[in-house]
């Protein structure tokens, strides 16, 4: 057992269990929330350090040799995602300390938070397809419960759509896993990849590839399958929204990256072409949907969809630079999008509304908050000194190099329309005069406000850091793209040099 690989899984599970046991001690739960997510961030960073030095780390659970037992595999992509999960976990936990009411806490907000993080981390670290399904379900069940916390009417309506479509996607995933097992007799990802490479020309492979694409496409909110997202993400408490917006769809994107680099990289003319069109249409439909919205969180929800398109574009072009760009984009997007949702939460706390027409005048009142909004907003649109600029630049450059001019043009246009949306929020929420002059907003205590501001400032600093000093993240993304495009390395790391364990 390599503790570096298992710790990021065990810490949130343990923190979740402990906070369940501390059901009647809300203060202890709050401490555990910070300690657990902070521990996850530290353990993730340690793992990243180890993986960077020693290459792909593998743990065979229960010491069963590779294709028979469950393998936990920490490669650079998975580990990078674990670190980001820890970062977002800490930010959301701090923010929740200020915003989570007694009612939500009494129904187990913090235990669910830890279990959700455990599911997400498990999905990033597992090397087994059925185990991936199980982690997805852990994550989904926790997210269902978090989504309806509070039980308002809009939440119920959103939850029915969210639950139905996510269950449908899980069933498609399960069916694909079953068929794959019937075909190959193995579910270990490395073993599956090795056997599929020997078995080319079977039409069933493409059918399975498409089933996985649909299943993860629903979870990632890609083009024709994204309708559940803007219908539900703006309904729960804002800390939950921020967590979902940052992490959940990206687990689907991660699964697509894993599937279509490791297991189905053999017919890019077919599968990746479909992904390419899906990516273009995802960008376009998301941004056009956002342009028609006049509610803070709904605009941001539609922008999640459009940004997913850029990541999928990186995967679909399938050149080293494009995959690098896709990975860079995922990291940048998770930080920025969570930050924007947290800011919408602060605005709601200050003014009591998310609707743009009820807001205004915040620049005069809280100039620093306005600046803090501009950092992630302009980064999302891709303004030069910020992280989004490099992310978009790499993806678009890869698109031009690959000769995919149509999709690249869409990507550029969508960047412009994103800027339009962000400027719309800026003008309506911060710049224009407050609609009701005599309106007194609910009082906010100073300590509470600081607690809400701390994660926002931290994430904004991360955005600035990535923007001004993109070298380290670029190097990391480059190395993990290299690993992804050379599946042999992954297979050898899991199965051993000569692929032992052939039955």
């Amino acid at each position: 057992m390599n503790p570096a690989v298992t710790l990021p899984l065990l810490i949130p599970l343990l923190a979740g269990t402990l906070s369940l046991m501390a059901w009647r001690l809300p203060r202890l739960q709050r401490w555990l929330a910070v300690a657990g997510t902070g521990g996850l961030l530290l353990a993730g960073s340690w793992l990243l350090h180890r993986v960077w030095q020693d290459g792909i780390l593998v743990v065979q659970v229960g010491a069963w040799p590779a294709p028979f037992g469950i393998s936990l595999v920490a490669d650079l992509l998975g580990t990078l995602m674990v670190v980001i999960t820890g970062l977002i976990g800490v930010a959301v936990a701090l923010f929740s300390l200020a915003t989570t009411g007694r009612g939500h806490q009494a129904f187990g907000y913090f235990p669910l938070l830890h279990l959700l993080l455990a599911g997400v981390v498990g999905a990033f670290l597992t090397g087994d397809l059925f185990n991936l399904y199980v982690w997805f379900e852990v994550m989904l069940v926790a997210s269902f419960a978090l989504l309806i916390l509070g039980g308002e009417k809009a939440q119920m309506e959103g939850a029915i759509k969210y639950v139905t479509l996510n269950l449908l996607s899980s069933v498609i995933f399960l069916v694909a896993v079953g068929l794959l097992y019937g075909m190959l007799g193995t579910l270990n990802m490395a073993d599956v990849a090795r056997r599929l490479a020997l078995l080319q020309g079977d039409g069933m492979i493409e059918v399975l590839a498409m089933m996985f694409m649909v299943a993860f496409g629903i979870k990632a909110a890609a083009f024709p399958l994204f309708f559940w997202l803007p219908a539900s993400y703006h309904t729960p408490p804002v800390a939950v929204s921020a967590l979902f917006a940052g992490l959940l769809t990206k687990v689907g994107v991660y699964a697509l990256f894993r599937m279509f680099t490791l297991i189905f990289p053999h017919s890019p003319g077919y599968t990746h072409q479909i992904l390419l069109w899906g990516a273009g249409l995802t960008m376009l439909s998301g941004v056009l949907g956002a342009a028609a919205q006049f509610e803070f969180r709904r605009i941001l929800s539609f922008h999640i969809v459009s940004q997913i398109g850029y990541m999928l574009l990186g995967l679909a072009l399938f050149t080293p630079l494009a995959v690098l760009g896709g990975l860079f984009y995922i990291v940048h997007h998770i930080i920025v999008k969570t930050n924007l949702f947290l800011i919408s939460g602060i605005v709601h706390r200050l003014r009591g509304s998310y609707r743009l027409e009820c807001l205004g005048g915040l620049y005069r009142q809280r100039p620093w908050l306005s600046v803090l909004f501009l950092v992630p907003a302009l980064s999302l649109a891709g303004m030069p000194p910020l992280s989004g600029f490099f992310a978009k630049f790499i993806v678009i450059r890869a698109g031009l190099e690959a000769g995919a001019y149509g999709v690249t043009a869409i990507a550029l246009l969508v960047g412009l329309l994103t800027l339009f949306s962000m400027v719309k929020i800026w003008a309506e929420v911060f710049w224009k005069a407050s609609p009701q002059a005599g309106d007194t907003p609910p009082a906010v205590e100073r300590g509470e406000l600081w607690l809400m501001m701390a994660p926002v400032v931290g994430l904004a600093l991360c955005t600035l850091f990535i923007g001004l000093y993109a070298g380290p993240l670029y190097g990391l993304a480059e190395a993990s793209a290299e690993q992804l495009l050379d599946p042999e390395r992954y297979i050898r790391a899991v199965l051993g040099p000569e692929g032992r364990g052939t039955p």
Binding site: F130, Y133, V134, E137, L140, V141, F144, A145, I148, G151, E152, K153, A154, M156, E157, G158, A159, I160, K161, V163, T164, L167, L168, S170, V171, L174, V175, V177, G178, L179, Y181, G182, G185, P230, A231, S232, H234, T235, G289, A292, Q293, R298
Partner: protein
């Protein structure tokens, strides 16, 4: 035995999708139940059915003799059944709560959060 089960799975999937396309929320949940049962049954059948050959290692030997049933799909399907049971019980409670709050059983009425 496999062809019979294959047809059964097909019918289950068809019925599930038909139910999910109805307007009633209760029928939607029934559709989800049928859907997950169909998927579970499919996972169970995929590796082929071998009768009267449990994968047991006889005493004194290190591996079972002759052709035995593949135990893995059964383990998988057991896990999948437990998961779908949990998730579907959540869905049932959700529908009940939603009816208490929204007071409708018509999916077309749930358009407040739509855009």
């Amino acid at each position: 035995m496999e062809p019979v089960l294959a047809v059964t799975i097909g019918i289950l999937f068809a019925a599930a999708i038909y139910m999910m396309l109805r307007r009633s929320i209760v029928k939607l949940v029934i559709g989800l139940m049928l859907l997950s049962n169909a998927a579970n049954l499919l996972v169970f059948v995929t590796a082929g059915l071998t009768r009267d050959a449990p994968p047991l290692v006889p005493p004194g030997m290190s591996m079972p003799a002759g052709v035995v049933a593949d135990p893995l799909p059964q383990a998988l399907v057991l896990t999948a059944i437990v998961i779908s049971f949990g998730v579907l019980s959540f869905a049932v409670v959700l529908v009940h709560r939603a009816w208490e709050v929204v007071r409708t059983d018509d999916l077309d009425q749930l358009k407040e959060t739509d855009t």
